[in-house]
């Protein structure tokens, strides 16, 4: 057992050197890596939470816009109904005006017909006048003819 003491001492020293070296070279980095890993896990957890909260926010927004769209659709329907009513009202007024216009048209047509009748009558009268006077002319005697011809001839010869 006498040689064992330096050997044991040497072993102890050796061991402590190894431990020291290990602590410095291995333990510390490994701890660092473990720490890093822990932080990374924490970060990704936080990121996941953030994404989850954003997703919730978008879902909210989606629900909101759906509600908006439904409201707008209802509004459009309302407006459409109002316009339809207005259209119906316009149509009735138009129909009334059309009826009035028809009446006016009939009245003016009657006026036109009256004018036409008067014109016709005038023409008939003119023809009658010509025919009667022609008859008179037929019954003129020679003397009457010659007097007429004399009169006209004078003025005629001036213009030739």
């Amino acid at each position: 057992m006498d040689i064992q003491l330096p050997q044991i001492l040497f072993q102890i020293v050796n061991f402590s050197v190894v431990v020291g070296a290990l602590t410095y070279l291995l333990y510390k980095p490994v701890q660092k890596v473990l720490e890093e890993r822990a932080t990374r896990i924490e970060e990704s957890q936080r990121a996941a939470e953030k994404i989850l909260s954003e997703k919730n926010a978008i879902d909210e927004l989606k629900k909101q816009s759906e509600k908006e769209a439904r409201k707008q659709a209802a509004q459009i329907l309302e407006d459409a109904k109002k316009d339809a009513e207005k259209l119906a009202h316009d149509l009735t007024t138009k129909a009334q005006e059309h009826a009035k216009a028809q009446l006016l048209k009939v009245q003016t047509e009657w006026q036109e017909q009256k004018k036409e009748l008067v014109r016709d009558l005038r023409q008939q009268f003119a023809d009658a006048v010509v025919k009667t006077t022609a008859k008179i002319g037929m019954s003129m005697d020679k003397k009457a003819h010659m007097t007429l011809i004399d009169e006209e001839l004078e003025s005629l010869l001036k213009r030739i």
């Binding site: 005038r122 006048v129 010509v130 011809i149």
Partner: protein, 72 residues
């Protein structure tokens, strides 16, 4: 130039010569033609060349007829 004189009744020779002289005074080269047409009713129509002077009763009656039927 041909001058045509139209009357409703036949004119006497004397009268025709009267008209001839009167016309030849203004148009020396004219040749006269006398026509009888009862349709003009009375009066006289003289046509010289392409111009016509209408002094007949028919013409006057037509004018009256036109004026009455177009009067307002």
């Amino acid at each position: 130039m041909v001058v045509t004189v139209t009357t409703a009744i036949e004119l006497s020779e004397k009268y025709q010569t009267q008209i001839k002289t009167a016309i030849l005074k203004k148009h020396p080269k004219a040749t006269l033609d006398f026509v009888v047409d009862q349709a003009i009713i009375g009066g006289i129509i003289v046509r010289f060349g392409s111009k016509e002077l209408d002094a007949s009763l028919r013409g006057k009656l037509n004018q009256i007829s036109n004026q009455i039927s177009t009067a307002l």
